[in-house]
Amino acid sequence: MAAPKVAVVGAGVVGLSTALCIAETCPSGSVTVLSDQFSPDTTSDAAAGILIPHTYPGTPIHVQKQWFKETFTYLFAISNSAEASEAGIHLVSGWQVFKNSPKEELPFWSDIVLGFRLMSKAELQKFPQHQFGQAFTTLKCDCPPYLLWLEKRLKAAGVQIYTRKVADLWELHSEYNVVVNCTGIGARQLVGDEKLFPVRGQVLKVHAPWVKNFIRDGDGLTYIYPGIHRVTLGGTREKDNWSLAPDPGTTKDIFDRCCSLEPSLRGAQDIKVKVGLRPSRQHVRLQREVLSQGGVKLPVIHNYGHGAGGFSVHRGTAKEAARLVGECIAALQGSSSRAKL
């Protein structure tokens, strides 16, 4: 069989990082990225890109922990290199604060982030409405820089990138041997997955360079994440809301909630509003499926449904998807060599 051709559909953080992993681990194959949207118009571009995992109810904790650890380790190395600023990756310290005691005192990721510890009463004085808190140092991936850096790495690895709207995965069967589906919220329509639903998030990206620490309310609704040039203020979690249009009332509500956590934000300038639809699911769909029509087979690796936790686990799931692609290629090469006999 000639060099196996792999198509990755989707160019958000999951699509691009998966394509890169495949190019790194399956050197015999040729990889192509197909997407109708690229940075700065992907869901990933609305996200702050902070590495604080979301817990998927349907995935074993040890698997989520492994994904997070792989992602954190990978980004940590880049964050301390000369490439860090171009890749948009940097360390950031801060606090997660709770009005009510959290369900678990120690989240599963507490030993992966840096310097995790419970906040003292003195530190909590800065947050008079909150009774409990955790302090730690983690990583942030700024978008667009991170996506643009991934694209640059992909091109250097010989990966082709095309703008193309894929209406049906089957349409790729004549050009590609393996398809990887990283379409995020687009999978709802593309493969008809009704278990996938949007959780709408509106955020503000503001100029407030004096804010150097992150602050997150443990309820996940209010957060302040300082990036390289802008601070992301959030947010909302609106299940089944498909609207990508910014809502002015929501903007004011987010700003007020963030200012009550960090009053100096009243001086923030140049407020930009973004909306993203978190591609949410009970668990990430990370599995192989073989499509077949009229005796022709097309192996598909699904890697979508990362919801609120895409950045936190993207490298871990990309590696797993690449592993599954490797298995597909091996199976195809095995059957094609059998066919030669």
């Binding site: 950031v92 840096l114 310097g115 302090a135 360079p209 004096w210 040039h229 001086g267």
Partner: protein, 336 residues
């Protein structure tokens, strides 16, 4: 009651502000003037990175302003970061004053090869930004500022006494010796590079027992990121040195490799007003039949911003003592 403050760095301005806040209500005739030949952005304070590694009263004062709308104008904000050592050291006396003090974990130390021990804490930055705020604040009715860029006060006595000052506050920093000889005061020359590196969100201060304080690289983010690590005792040269630039750049890039891509925006040299201890005391100077009270407040070395408010309050207390003495000594007299 005429008060002349000489010096418009962080010490001069904060002392002026502190005295004004405490006494303008008690002493309706209080008139204050600030004399200086250099104002922001040309003072020693302007080159300071502005990081606050703690001292008591200043921390409480600044913390109280943190949530105010003024914080942004003051250039006041919280920042977390690292103090690095090549060997274990005892915890500092200020560990309970800062927020969240702890030792560094092994994984964190992996970031800093060559350092085997360290602290993490959240501190306050007063970027000088703050100096412009200090200069603008205060009751415009009660406090006049005399900008005298051409005047170098050649000595304490003739100039300010000729103006009829009752109290002189000497906040002249490294050049206090020109007003009144002080062999204990020496310049501690520093040189910094300001770069654009907005992805750096932590301060990093290294300590080398052998090379001495401030002679070990440090990285302090603010509006720009300040790279430093030079301390030359007795060196009056305010020109930038190419050798010092090389030292600072190479050491800081080794400490934080991401800086290699940072764009250099400015180089700056300054003279820390170094003294074995801060001179914070009263002195009575006599000229003919009149006398003036002097309060000295200079010699803050590399930690002027750190202790400025505590010193300003101490100076204000000395001022209060002078007021009491004048009331006790004689009733108000017509001015000669």
């Amino acid at each position: 009651m005429r008060v002349a403050i000489i010096g418009a760095g962080v010490i001069g301005l904060s002392t002026a502000l502190c005295i004004h806040e405490q006494y303008h209500g008690l002493v309706p005739s209080l008139e204050m003037e600030v004399y200086a030949d250099r104002f922001t952005p040309h003072t020693t304070s302007d080159g300071a990175a502005g990081l606050w590694q703690p001292y008591l009263k200043t921390f409480d004062y600044l913390l109280g302003h943190l949530d105010s709308a003024a914080a942004k104008e003051m250039g006041l904000f919280l920042i977390s970061g690292y103090n690095l050592f090549t060997q274990p050291v005892p915890d500092p006396s200020w560990k309970n004053i800062v927020l969240g003090f702890r030792n560094l974990t092994p994984k964190e130390l992996e970031l800093f090869p060559g350092y085997s021990y360290g602290w993490f804490n959240t501190a306050l930055m007063l970027e000088l930004l703050g100096l412009a705020w200090l200069q603008e604040s205060g009751d415009p009715r009660g406090q006049r500022r005399r900008v005298c860029p051409a005047h170098r006060a050649a000595s304490l006595s003739p100039q300010v006494f000729a103006q009829g000052a009752d109290v002189v506050i000497n906040c002249t920093g490294v050049r206090a010796g020109e007003l009144q000889p002080d062999p204990e005061l020496q310049p501690g020359r520093g040189q910094i590079i300001k770069v654009l590196a907005p992805w750096v969100k932590h301060f990093i201060i290294t300590h080398d027992i052998k090379s001495g304080i401030y002679n070990s690289p440090y990285v302090i983010p603010g509006e720009f990121t300040v790279l430093g690590g030079i301390y030359q005792h007795g060196n009056w040269n305010e020109e930038n040195s190419a050798q010092d630039h090389k030292t600072v750049w190479e050491n800081c890039c080794r400490l934080l490799p991401t800086l290699q891509k940072a764009k250099i925006v400015q180089e700056w040299s300054g003279l820390r007003p170094a003294r074995p201890c801060v001179r914070l005391e009263r002195e009575t100077l006599r000229h003919g039949h009149s006398q003036a009270e002097v309060i000295h407040n200079y010699g803050h070395g590399g930690f002027g911003i750190t202790i400025h408010w505590g010193c300003a309050m101490a100076a204000a207390r000395l001022f209060g003592t002078i007021l009491q003495e004048k009331k006790l000594a004689s009733p108000p007299q017509p001015r000669l």
